[in-house]
Symmetry: C2
Subunit: 423 residues, 2 copies
């Protein structure tokens, strides 16, 4: 029996009852003979309440102080969890990100982990303790200031600790049963995936699946740490994410892992761009300088008669204003005709390593959408993913149609509660 | 203009409005040319809410984890305060007790400060920052664990930092105007004291005055740090506590500084103790071994006929059960007849360095009580204090009578709001 890292999200420790339930689950793992390291998020709405307070005090929360503020949330949940475990007769100690050796860069509010030096965790484990570690937080290498890791940070903390401690598995406990073949709120017949490889999981995460975030999966892949996503409310097996299926996970690898969708993006089309070398580079340098992350990029073939082309790209809706402003300012310099901004779009993605060797997938995907009467506006593909942009209104119908077309529908009609985790 | 340490209690930063008001006051001190270090407590009821949560999770909160939990409170208030100051256009950085170099022993929940190494505070000040420090907390020297200083801990943090930074003054901001000649809730004509020396303040603090706690005053006396207790709600001068009156504080030192009272104690009388050497020692060794702090001790002259004596002592009501239990167990060994436990008592103390050279003080004190019809049960004196124990029901009448008799009554009838601070 080796070392296990378990991560519990805010919804699993939302109140005293939740904390006691989680404590019991942790103790069960300890009793089963594991060394147990637990990463915990802030309780329920704590983080939102702290953000509210900050907004009442100052309209521009400062980076360093904002991190100091938010990290109070995990401090509360981890101390309570350690107390609850002690109350069950087991030894437990809680550790801040800094005490756990989570070393980051100095970019407040979205720091990156540089190194993990879990000396105190090792000692605590060797002394028979269950170690409880604050998720989402670290300490900056140069200034020794408290930092936070941004969205999904607690999952990343868990995977990073699992890597540094050479854990057998990193268990991510959440309020859903695992990763599904589609969002069960949209597709009633979505199935829980028993095992999925890192590559497919990465594509699902970057295509709108919210159970695991991209950076956490990326970290796990780099250090080859198996992730087990499962519910803290049920005792069921969840979804294993790893390089190879292990033990009884010998599942037949399907062609398609799942269908993801994302309605958080908008589309900008730069109309009438002179079709000459370097124009696209100018546009995307401008966007990059404004620190805007773009997703899909599509350039149509230019009409020979005009020598002009259109360039479309998608980006988070929240960045829409900043991007159009930057482009409008450079309109004369770039020489385009006009901008079109559209935030009523959805992105639908089909993900699966199997599509590399199955030439019919793209055609079947488009046929399914066509049969459902869904119009395709943009197309973008990778080796193991096809994404299209459609009208936002069409998204549910489109996802269901594709899910059925690729044989992903489950036989049962069980309703599944499916919610995102905060961080 | 030198360095000023300001401490704000939980009631001063109870909500966003309070934090903004305090931020403005801090900025005023900075604008006046001071280097400013601020020590802040947790917001309003935060600590009580955290304690409630802990009790829901475990009936026996563990020391180390309880400290981890409670210290989240100051983390929130200090970060918000730093944000509010930045919003006023000034530089501010917040520091945990650990970051501020507050080194303590390892006694969780009531740690003692061993050393203060405020290197990061110095650097922050030199860079033009206002430094905000979490009160009430430190880090243990040996294990590097988070500790808390117990009741009144934030005041102690402030004085300790003032000493380590060689501050001009330690300003303790609270929700009252200063130290009064008596509790204004009891004595309507109580006067604010403009200046008081450390010794008298120490006696007042240990006799029931709640504005400053004994350990904080003791620390200030040891390092000769003037304390200025004042209201965070008004701009008024409060009470200066120091060795010598400074500048315009040339007040005529009165014989009596004030009248304190305390209804938090109970009285135990050990009846029929054999009057032979060593008996008292056995009793109080027993009490000390049970880690009970006792206050007044009185032994009556033994009746010659029986060779037995009675020994009475006072102690915090909360320790009453533990003490009687320990004594009952040793009844046969000590050979006393019975125990009497009485928690309906009050202690009334008259404090003033002037009484050393004024022989009539004791007589006048007893006369005042006698005129008010108040019966005296125990008497105990020091060089600058006389304390008596009376019935709890008599306390208000007794305090008012003594206050009037010693000419302490103010001419004005202003009502003063007088409340304790949490820590």
């Amino acid at each position: 029996m080796g070392l296990v890292v378990q991560k519990y999200g805010g919804s699993s420790v939302a109140d005293a009852e939740g904390i006691k339930r989680v404590a019991k689950r942790i103790v069960d793992a300890k009793k089963a003979g594991h060394q147990v390291v637990v990463v915990v998020s802030a309780m329920g709405d704590t983080t939102d309440e702290l953000i509210d307070l900050a907004e009442q005090v100052s309209p521009i929360p400062a980076g360093r102080e904002f991190d100091m503020l938010l990290t109070a949330g995990e401090r509360i949940s981890m101390a309570l969890l350690a107390m609850a475990i002690k109350n069950l007769g087991h030894k437990a100690q809680s550790f801040t990100g800094s005490q756990a050796g989570v070393i980051t860069d100095s970019v407040h509010n979205k720091a990156r982990i540089i190194d993990v030096t879990p000396g105190r965790i090792r000692t605590a484990l060797d002394e028979g303790n269950i170690a409880i570690v604050a998720g989402f937080q670290g300490v900056s290498q140069d200034k020794k200031d408290i930092t936070t890791l941004g969205r999904g940070g607690s999952d990343t903390t868990a995977v990073a600790l699992a890597a540094a401690l050479d854990a057998e598995v990193c268990e991510i406990y959440t309020d859903v049963d695992g990763v599904f073949t589609a969002d069960p709120r949209v597709v009633k017949k979505a199935r829980k995936i028993d095992w999925i490889n890192f590559e497919d999981m990465l594509e699902l995460a970057s295509s709108g699946s919210k159970v695991l975030l991209h950076r956490c999966v990326e970290y796990a892949r780099r250090y080859n740490i198996p992730i087990h996503v499962r519910s803290s409310f049920s005792g069921l097996q969840g979804t294993w994410v790893s390089n190879e299926p292990q033990g009884d996970q010998k599942v037949e690898q399907a062609i398609i892992s799942g269908v993801a969708h994302d309605t958080s993006e908008a589309k900008i089309t730069v109309v009438g761009v002179p079709d000459k070398p370097g124009e696209a580079a100018v546009i995307f340098r401008l966007i990059a300088d404004a620190e805007i992350n773009i997703d899909m990029v599509v350039q149509n073939v230019s009409a020979a008669s005009t020598g002009l082309t259109d360039i479309s790209f998608t980006l988070p809706k929240a960045e829409g204003h900043k991007a159009t402003e930057a482009l409008e300012k450079a309109k004369a310099a770039i020489g385009f005709e006009s901008l079109r901004y559209d935030d009523q779009i959805a992105k639908i993605s089909l993900v699966g390593a199997g599509m590399k060797t199955n030439p019919g997938v793209t055609a079947a995907f488009f046929e399914a959408l066509s049969d459902a009467g869904v119009n395709i506006e943009l197309i973008s593909t990778s080796e193991i993913r096809i994404s299209v942009v459609t009208r936002a209104d069409d998204v549910n119908e489109a996802v269901c149609a594709v899910h059925t077309a690729f044989g992903l529908d489950s036989d049962s009609d069980e309703a599944v509660v499916y919610g995102g985790t905060g961080r």
